[in-house]
Amino acid sequence: MNSEDLVEIVFHGRGGQGAVTAANLIVAAALKDGNKGVQAFPFFGAERRGAPVRAFARISHTEIHLRSEIYYPDIVIVLDESLMDIVDVLKGLKKDGRVLINTRKKPSDFDFSKKYKVATVDATGVALKNEILVGGIPVINTPILGAVPKILNRVTLKSIQDTIRKKWNKDLAERNVKATKDAYDLVEVKS
């Protein structure tokens, strides 16, 4: 890797859940928090609603020269638990890697919590509660981002919320901001 301080994140979601937006929001927030080199990009393939999608984020204190995909992430974020049956979300995860999962389960319910630092949050529940829906389907991106500061100290909840307020208009922004706070309070982390 080009620098010790580089954090690489892979988001796994289904088309429509907002994985790409999540990656964009987290790096915009990280930039506000003083990380000068950031990068967010989707994997482009046959993306469509419901199909497995991936998005990537890099966070660094210095300019990032990498332009390749992320193969060895520090953090994996799973927006849809059911993906774990069909996608090896832990593929390439580093030894001291962290996993954040949208689920009603506890971290200890996952076997790999013995090996990795696992965090869980019911982001779907948070999205439904705050009426964050597109076409009746809960959007997971902003709720799950609220949980990220609990597993990554390079991004603050405040910057995530400021980024959301900048992106959307007032009512929609405030509901999303509320969702990040709810997720932040609800997330369970097992180290």
Binding site: V27, V38, Q39, F41, F44, I64, R67, S68, E69
Partner: protein, 386 residues
């Protein structure tokens, strides 16, 4: 004051283009260029782009509209990709021979069939001989800065040529990175209004592009060559001015990275050129004396600079393109530049065609194999099952 904007390469390109205040943008959407022209249309909707946006029915028409508008003396911009660029081919020659400084972004995308939306450089490389100045970018900041510089270069009265700014599909076009954006006033001061050498004016009618005899036509070509060569002097001047005004520098015709005290120089373009920096850092940590010269301009080609590098180092070249029946285009150009003047060994790789990912690890492997003397003159890297 600088403002930091974080967005994808295409939206950054849209911002840069609009800040250059083109009078006419004519474009036809194609993946992965679409968000670039959508971005410009959005700026028009918000009133920030005050020029005319012409929706056309094809890329051939997009370039024809830019040519027509540019011939009236105004500033024009467009963007395209892959098959769109190829459909423009005739008009690309036309714009260059008419000496019209149209500026265009080309998002490097694979040419089909088989159908593929990912990146390689065969689309723009195949437009090599049209007379356009060609830049290849490796970051969103470089895209932003180069677009603004491109108008100044192309519109310079000793140049008066169109400029193509290429950047990789998705790897840059759809990747968000932070970009410093100067104030509009600072851009206006750097890039004054276009002063054309000639222009079409209904009140003072002239004809342009009429028949000329062989001896005169040859002079047209010679003059074009002179202008391309003049760019070798002008581009470094403009890069320097940009650096002094805005504090950023991406190189001249080449960007040098750790090229002191070297035995080997890696040459690559575009996104691979950025990834190569990580590879160079790692190789140098392992004690290898290697540096990087990232090729920014394919036309004019940095012949003299590369010849100079070859005096002290052997050269390893990675091409994300292929001229079938020959080799990678940059590899060919480099050998032509060295012919009879250098004893350097040159090794050529083809890598990343069809959008295949090229990682710093891949680049390190290519370099090490060449340094170990195990690379044939030309190799396809990582080709499986053939």
């Amino acid at each position: 004051m600088n403002q930091v904007m974080i967005d994808t390469g295409n939206y950054i390109a849209a911002k840069a283009a609009v800040m250059c205040k083109p009078d006419v943008v004519a474009a036809y959407p194609i993946t992965p260029q679409t968000t670039l022209v959508e971005g410009i249309a959005n700026y028009q909707g918000k009133g920030e782009f005050k020029g005319e946006y012409i929706c056309v029915e094809s890329e051939h028409s997009a370039m024809a509209a830019c040519i027509g508008a540019s011939a009236t003396g105004v500033r024009t911009f467009t963007g395209t990709s892959s098959h769109g660029l190829l459909l423009m081919h005739e008009m690309l020659h036309w714009a260059a021979l008419a000496r019209l400084p149209v500026v265009m972004c080309n998002i490097n995308r694979v040419v089909g069939p088989g159908w593929n939306i990912w990146t390689d450089e065969n689309d723009s490389i195949s437009q090599r001989d049209t007379g356009w100045i060609q830049f290849y970018c490796s970051s969103n900041q470089e895209i932003f800065d180069t677009i603004i510089q491109a108008f100044k270069i192309g519109e310079h009265q000793k140049v008066s040529l169109p400029v193509m700014i290429s950047y990789n599909a998705f790897i840059l076009s759809h990747t968000s990175m932070p970009v410093y954006v100067p104030d509009q006033k600072e851009i206006d001061a750097f890039l004054p209004k276009r002063k054309p050498l000639w222009y079409l004016d209904p009140n003072n009618p002239i004809t342009f592009g009429n028949i000329i005899l062989p001896a005169e036509y040859e002079k047209v070509r010679f003059d074009m060559q002179k202008s391309q060569y003049y760019c070798k002097k002008l581009i470094p001047e403009i890069s320097k001015e940009w650096k002094e005004k805005f504090g950023r520098f991406h190189g001249d015709l080449l960007e040098y990275y750790k090229c002191e005290n070297v035995e080997y120089i890696l040459l690559s373009m575009g996104a691979i050129g950025a990834e190569s920096k990580v590879a160079i850092d790692n190789l140098r940590k392992q004690g290898l004396k290697i540096g990087l010269a990232r090729v920014r301009t394919f036309r004019p080609f940095p012949q003299e600079e590369i010849l100079k590098l070859s005096k002290n180092a052997d050269l390893i070249i990675i091409d994300r393109n292929i001229s079938p029946g020959m080799e990678g285009a940059v590899f060919s150009e480099i050998k032509a530049s060295l012919y009879g003047k250098s004893d350097a060994k040159v090794y050529g790789y083809i890598a990343g065609l069809g959008g295949k990912d090229v990682t710093f690890g891949d680049i390190e492997k290519m370099c090490k194999k060449a340094i170990d003397g195990k690379t044939k003159h030309l190799e396809w890297y990582g080709l499986e099952g053939v």
